[in-house]
């Protein structure tokens, strides 16, 4: 990566005003992008000031009254925030444990298939859920889990068990959330591991064949170590995103009956900030959360660098 950056270091020797005139087109080209990034990325960054204000939409970011750290102090006593934070952490840990390794296993499985046509068809189908919207995925889930007429409950009662009202039981939320994450993402996420596997030097397998290594040994001693750098990089990303779950999907899945496990920081911020009108406090919660997330990313990267040679920076 560092090598590719080199051409940018080139300094033009033409005087600035001549350059500006000659290359006016180039400066014009970047203009829309710069303006859009300024408005939709930098303005909201400035907008964090509202976490230190008593923000009122009519007064705006510049006219609202400053209140210092009041909202942040309130945060420490907020039991609902604490609950949301713990739920977020729970989902993060569960997705590292279950959602993260799933595509690796799937890619290894795909790799062992011998019939290319079967493999291709299965792969294409496995990408499909990635292209469905969250509304549809949650819609499928709700329909299948309905107490009356839902497939799952039809089977449960056919097997002689009591029907389960999945969406009203807090203990079911986490499995359902992780399950849908895997269902929707596993195929698409396996692409990257399959590509890494495809890049392995075939001579390694040939020499293993000569040494009489079996398939299991080849997977453990060649395939997995060869794709380790990919796994580590994606693991760092996953750890960095451990607090950034797909809370917009949770908005579709949850209801007050299961807030005790389903309410995460993202949904909490949305509920109090957009629906509830406590904008400043919600912004303070959001800001605190992004600081903690950033710290997580830095810490994982540091650990990865200490333990091995792969890191993001």
């Amino acid at each position: 990566m560092a090598k590719k950056e080199k051409p940018y270091r080139y300094k033009s020797s033409t005087p600035l005003h001549i350059n500006l005139k000659k290359n006016a087109a180039l400066y014009l080209m970047v203009l829309p992008g710069v303006v859009l990034i300024l408005i939709f990325s930098y303005f909201p960054m400035y907008g964090i000031v509202m976490a230190f204000q008593n923000f009122r939409p009519l007064d705006g970011f510049f006219g609202s009254q400053f209140v210092g750290l009041r909202h942040f102090r309130r945060l420490f006593e907020d039991l609902l925030f604490r609950r949301a934070f713990m739920n977020t952490l729970w989902l993060g840990v569960l997705s590292i444990v279950f959602t993260f390794p799933a595509p690796i296993l799937l890619a290894l499985s795909f790799n062992e298939l011998k019939h290319n046509k079967y493999k291709r068809v299965a792969q294409t189908i496995s990408y499909m859920p990635h292209f469905l919207s969250a509304v549809i995925v949650v819609g499928f889930l709700m329909d299948m889990l309905t107490v009356d007429g839902g497939v799952v409950n039809i089977w449960i009662s056919a097997l002689g068990f009591e029907r389960i009202n999945f969406f009203l039981l807090p203990e079911w939320f986490r499995p359902l959330f992780i399950g849908t994450s895997i269902w929707q993402g596993v195929g698409f996420s396996s692409i990257i591991y399959l590509a890494a596997i495809a890049g392995i030097n075939p001579e390694l397998y040939e020499s293993a064949d000569i040494d009489g290594g079996n398939r299991f040994q080849k997977a453990v001693y060649i395939t997995i170590p060869s794709i380790m750098p990919t796994i580590v990089i994606l693991f760092i990303f996953a750890m960095g995103g451990i607090l950034g779950n797909d809370w917009q999907r949770i908005l579709l899945m949850y209801n007050p009956a299961i807030f005790s496990t389903a309410d995460v920081v993202g949904t909490y911020v949305y509920r109090i900030g957009i629906e509830g009108g406590h904008q400043s406090y919600a912004a303070a919660v959001g800001f605190t959360m992004s600081v903690i997330s950033a710290a997580f990313l830095v810490a994982t990267n540091y650990t990865a660098r200490r333990l091995g040679e792969t890191s993001l920076w």
Binding site: K4, V30, I37, F61, S126, S133, G139
Partner: protein, 296 residues
């Protein structure tokens, strides 16, 4: 010799292989099952609202589809989604290419500054609440532009485009410059045409992204005539709110449809275009995932 043994190995199925094939087969079925089930429900009769459909439709009719398509509003939502997806994708590809191209021209000044300007946005952000109020302050609430403009240029994608442009042989554009072409001409007539694979990949991601986006319109679009199809679906599927399908009661009386068959039909017409297109672009997007990740 090595080849012969390889071929032999390739076709011999060991116990492990049977397990593996069965495993992949089961997983594949689990991806398809909700879809098949949904299709069956959408084709079922409306006799029994609690019909125990597990695989095949109960009865067969297309009333649910006819009912949906007879309602002009559904077309409106569909049309809105088409406009938002294509519009946003157009701006996205255009602005991103425009921003990436100058980076490969040696004479362009300000690369370092712009680089930092973009990189900062990859690590810091304002969060939902400030973003909401910025968009509101820009007057984009209840404006179709909110679906097509904010966030069309992201640092990450500019970097990907830039890398792609860089790998196009410089001779190609230099000969055009020698022939007297300006920067615009070089970008639009030399660089973009040879970047079709890149544009197809990110075009697909963008179209699908907007088509499936329900959160942005939920935040910013309140007026019914601006609603995209996902908001309509959310009302039907999640909120079980049938205000957009007023005469559903009449139809139900004739046992032609149920709210459940209507929901399923709405899902089918929404995912049909996506399902028809993505398998053909597979080659591109698998490559696109790679371009995206290498830079990461």
């Amino acid at each position: 010799m090595a080849n012969a043994t390889n071929v032999k190995k390739l076709k011999t199925m060991y116990l492990y292989d049977w397990f593996n094939y069965a495993f992949i087969g089961l997983i594949t079925l689990s991806f398809l099952y909700p879809l098949i089930l949904n299709l069956s429900i959408s084709l079922s009769d409306g006799n029994d609202p609690l019909a125990r459909i597990t695989l095949l439709p109960m009865g067969f009719n297309l009333e649910s589809y006819r009912f949906l398509l007879a309602d002009g509003r559904v077309f409106r939502y569909y049309f809105n989604s088409v406009v938002y997806s294509t519009g946003r994708t157009f701006f996205h590809l255009l602005f991103t290419s425009l921003m990436a191209f100058p980076f490969i021209i040696a004479d362009f000044r300000g690369k370092t500054f712009l680089n930092i300007f973009m990189l900062i946005t990859m690590f810091f952000g304002g969060g939902l609440i400030p973003y909401f109020f910025v968009v509101r302050a820009m007057g984009l609430v209840d404006s179709p532009w909110v679906m097509m403009i904010p966030g069309t240029v992201s640092a990450f994608q500019v970097i990907i485009f830039r890398t792609f442009f860089q790998n196009i042989p410089a001779e190609l554009r230099e000969s055009a410059y020698v022939d007297g072409s300006g920067h615009w001409r070089v970008l639009f007539q030399i660089m973009m045409p040879v970047s079709k694979a890149l544009l197809a990949t990110f075009g697909l991601f963008s179209i699908v992204g907007v088509w499936n986006d329900w959160f942005t319109p939920m935040l910013f679009l309140r007026r019914g005539e601006l609603m995209p199809i996902q908001i309509f679906l959310r009302r039907l599927l999640i909120l079980m709110d049938f205000r957009d399908a007023e005469n559903v009661d009449v139809q139900m009386m004739f046992n032609l449809v149920t709210s459940r068959t209507i929901r399923s039909a709405a899902v089918m017409i929404t995912i049909a275009p996506v399902l028809c297109v993505y398998p053909f672009l597979q080659k591109h997007f698998t490559k696109g995932v790679m371009i995206g990740s290498i830079k990461g």
